[in-house]
Amino acid sequence: MVGPPLDDFGLNLTKSVVRHALRTRAVSALGRSILAMRRNAFSLRSTQAVAEFALEETVRAFNGKAPTAWTSAFAPSELLRGMGLTLFSPEAASAVLSAFGLATQMLGVAEAHGHSRDTCTFHRAAMGAHIEGIFPRPDLLVAASHLCDGAPRLFCSIREVMAHREEDGPHRKAGGKDRKAEGNGADSGSPVDAPPSYPPFYLLDIPWGDTGRDAVRYVASQLESLFHDLAQRFRLPGDLERVKEAIRLSNEARKWAVAANELKRLSPCPVTAREVADYVYVLFIGFGSEEAVRIYRTLYEEASARAHRSGGQGVEERCRILWLHLRPFYAGRLWTYMEETLGARIVFDEFSNIYWDELDPDKPFESLAVKALSHPGHGPIERRARTVLRLAEEYHVDGVIHFSHWGCRQSSGGALMIKDYLKEHGVPMLILDGDCIDRRNYAEGQAMTRLEGFVEMLA
């Protein structure tokens, strides 16, 4: 998606440059020139492919040939892709803004409009970018209620902002009017009261802590309603075969992702989280696409080739780390310092975990419901803690680091309980406070001391 932060390359992107690029429909050219500049920054072809995929998908969102769905993390990308929608992840886009050095300005814009500094900066930066007209205009918003309560609230606020605008803004798509909401509804899996002038918001209600048959049926019925409602509202082909094909593609990508993960158990680890951190973009909105299959297959091939080379990458593996949550996306030396100076290699990260079983293309709604319900971060904290311990054992790590992202209640709230659980099982954990998006909430010097102290403890 973004690779190493752009600040490292002396790129001076300002808000006005980005806005000019958007006004002149030069997003694609701007993105491609950035990628060309940064070609050598990618140590893996597959990681570069993630960046290219993100760029093309974003260009599609701006061009508006198909309706654009803004989706929250863990929304059912297979269903939406199978229906031919273009997906845009405002959370991933906030990470790009941070890497561009633009997040602080966007956070300021959101704060000036009354958004509290206590909220997640992924969502606050996205709100600022939306207010500034930097993001593509959504035709619909789809959020899932599990894991994160910030995204549904962001989407509600986005609709309010759009409602209060006298006109739609600079990125109104040709033909967009035809795709506007035609009716209202407030049930789960149906749009929450949407006046016709701005996009419908679909909230998938994923029951907390319940994974039984009733829960599966409940979520599956919402997905089925969503499918039919979108087909009618946006005049999309209500062809379930295309959804089934997206599910087959998701399974294919999953197969390669699992195979690549298997290789990460090796020592030295052939690819580390530093190289594959941006795959969170694919996790959020890529499954169900052909690109995701290509990306994960290439990743497997590259990891496999490295593993077969004697001595791996020849990098010292003083200790092996499992990383929980995400990392700072702005310029900084955190992971580089960890790996290159301290010899602590992040062999696995929580967002690389393929937590769901293979989906059944013949039961698309039920399969996607099971996938949503099987997320280890959803439900009682013991579920996530057990998963973390299993990952720590499977990837032979010496320690676990939880990056407590500012405002992320679902992740940081249970960090201490996970630490206690791991401690009982002899796995040390460090809780590192910081912010993935806003550099003002992060003191690198202090983080380094904690990291060094942790590595000294493990070594």
Binding site: P428, I431, Q446, T449, R450, G453, E456, M457
Partner: protein, 264 residues
Amino acid sequence: MDRLPVAGIDVGSLSAEAVIMRGDEVLGYSILPTGADSRGAAEKALAVALENAHMTAGDLAFIVATGYGRISVPFANKRVTEITCHAKGAHFLFPKTRTVIDIGGQDSKVIQIDESGRVVDFAMNDKCAAGTGRFLEVMARALEVDLEAMGDLSKKSRKHLVISSMCTVFAESEVVSLIARGEAKEDIISALHESVAERVSSLAQRVGVLHQVTMTGGVAKNEGVVRSLGQKLGMPMNIPPEPQIVGALGAAIISRELADGAGR
């Protein structure tokens, strides 16, 4: 084999310390303000410690630097975090230590160690200055008292006051308001000590407090904080004769281990 002398240097945010050791014997030490020049402070601290030990830099077999300014000590053979160094130092002074509480200038940390002095777990304060020496320094200035006198003054407290704000800036405002209200400085200082102890004991609970507890860092010289913290933890604490040099002492011990390992 005669052991050669080694040194440990701890460059903290407020003070720089150096310790010269040979074997288990501390030959000399120094405590100086860090000021704006970390490297200069490290050089000066080492020079004073060497002078006290009647030695020269050429006599030293190994130097370990620690503290936030450890990267500013180019003549050190190795840099180690203050977490590991305080654990080493506390274990050396009180071998039954299982919990180390270090309240320094800008950091407070709680370290759990095993019977060999190895770090098992630790937690540090977050970015703000609550529960650190800097917090007390700011309050001493607001109260127009010497930092070093706060411990003694707090013993004279007769009235229970509460400083509710953890934020140093807001707490300073509270202190100013209490002064304006005519409250006695002794009572305000006692409330400040309670505030620091509250913060640090919360941090300690995150790691788990195991007997024996050893307190290190400059704030361990403040009897008021020591008393409040001991009450909150429900156990007495070991206080080293010179708590401010424990980090540098730990660095010197690591120097000794590394020098021995290198066959010097």
